[in-house]
Symmetry: C2
Subunit: 316 residues, 2 copies
């Protein structure tokens, strides 16, 4: 019986790796630099080498390893092919499992990194125990990962779960990074929250502790915790937008749970206090009981999810 799997999360500057047991426990975690020279040709050989070293170090045989899961930036199809390349790695279009398998003869599965992270949260994180889940990542942008019946929704062009660009506001003048106007991301990402706050501050002279500090999503939620009325107003606006967007998502896939992660989610449970009532307001009656939880794996979600691509289901 196989005992282990490796989870690999390939980022633009570092590759995160993890060794997992069948129960989904991370026995070891480490990083190697991402060498993007020469169209990133060294990245997968480096990953293979690093895994071989780890196996040697720990005396793990090939036959003890179920396989290697890989999360990579860019659209990855069902076969693990990077369908549009990954610019920040220098990668073009190719099949990740086949190439990595050429360097290390173990079963390989690959997925988009955000989808892998969502899968990780389902497997061992905030969504553990659920098989119909939507992961929402509130970071510099807003991303999502949709899990239906335990499987990642990849979509026709790998754009499944691109919920940050759901149109949510008809009266927006500024353009989103995607060139549309009124995207969810423009109000609920870290930068979106800063934008909402600056707009609110400019509107009138309402006093606020945010007038004397750098405006960051963190500072806004700290001000909310301190009872700052203006910050609370911004949090309500943020919650209304996010609740409205997630209600639309629920109307499509009707998940059991939303798992909220990303830098903004470090604000903690207070975040949910502003999102859940708004979600309740906008959601279809049959979806109103959808649960909300915070992501728990942080930056490790990717390696968990990648390993989960291999191990999930095996442990049963």
């Amino acid at each position: 019986m196989k005992k282990y799997a490796f989870g690999v999360d390939i980022g633009g500057t570092t590759v995160k790796l993890g060794l997992f047991d069948k129960g989904g426990y991370a026995l070891d975690k480490w990083e190697i630099p991402t060498v993007t020279d020469n169209e990133g040709a060294a990245i997968l050989p480096d990953v293979a080498e690093s895994i071989k070293q780890k196996m040697e170090e720990r005396g793990i045989d090939m036959e003890d390893v179920s396989g290697i899961g890989v999360g990579a930036p860019g659209a990855v199809d069902h076969n693990g092919t990077l369908v549009s390349g990954a610019v920040n790695l220098g990668w073009g279009v190719f099949n990740i499992p086949k190439v990595l398998n050429g360097y290390l003869d173990l079963p390989v599965k690959a997925a988009n990194d955000a989808n892998a992270a969502a899968f990780g949260e389902m497997w061992q994180g905030g969504g553990k125990g659920y098989s119909n889940m939507v992961a929402v990542t509130l970071g510099t942008g807003v991303g999502g990962g949709i899990i239906v019946d335990g499987n990642i929704v990849i979509g026709a062009n790998g754009a499944g779960g691109e919920i940050g660009h759901i149109h949510i506001e008809d009266h927006e003048e500024e353009t989103c990074g995607c060139k549309n106007k009124g995207c969810l991301e423009q109000y609920t990402s870290a930068t979106g929250i800063v934008r909402l706050t600056k707009r609110r501050l400019a509107k009138d002279d309402t006093p606020s502790i945010l007038r004397d500090t750098e405006i960051t999503a963190k500072n806004v939620f700290d001000a909310v915790k301190a009872g700052d009325a203006l910050a609370i107003e911004v949090a309500e606006q943020f919650g209304d937008y996010l609740g409205k967007g997630l209600a639309a998502v629920a109307g499509v896939v009707n998940p059991e749970i939303f798992v909220i992660g990303g830098g903004v989610s470090k604000a903690g449970e207070i975040l949910l206090k502003y999102v859940e009532p708004a979600f309740q307001k906008y959601a279809f009656v049959a979806c109103k009981n959808t649960k909300f939880a915070l992501a728990t794996l942080g930056n490790d979600a990717g390696i968990y999810g990648a390993a989960g691509l291999i191990l999930n289901g095996e442990e049963e």
Copy 2:
């Protein structure tokens, strides 16, 4: 090798039945009345009897039949259990395949009727050849069916694809049937189009052939075809709402194709002329190439989809 399957679509007044060959061709279609007395206890025995008669009539043996697919109103889970009953049939909570199987010893699968119809359109209708599809039904209300990788998205409470209640308009005063305000259904169902038209007519004195006729969705699109400026304005508004809503759907599951059906879709290709540009405007860049098509199976979509639950995949 099995040659046939039956598709059954249970409605409040009639049960539609169909006999299909492995290629998805409807060899026979017929109806029986739905007897809702005594909590609808006779419905499934009647279905079994009607199928047995048809088999006798055509000299079909049990071993030639792959199974029976059933579409029923209400939320149906993965096992074919009607999780909240079906009020208009008098049915409570029970497992449809087990009960029907008790009357006729053939494999049975069951799904929600709208989802079955969506599945039918994917299998043999407007979405044939696609495995990631969203069916949109514009009738008295607005419904949807989401197919991801060839499987129906049922959702946690059977509310997958309830896209008619996606919040799409912040400035609505009237309440939707679901008790929310600003639902997609309020603007893009047959009744929604009538509402939009009446509002527009009341706004000013712009001449329109619609002033001298009964306002129905059909008449509005006939007026559009006749070049009536006011009707065209309404069609643009309708298209904008539907395009916006479907762009949100695309941001969640990124389908290859939207298949538009229901009474409103009888307007024909002209409908898509108003929806597609609006979709393009609101959709995330990676989803802009999503195709649009009209549903082709009409009221037979349900029996096709029900039979498809049994046969789809078998023909390969």
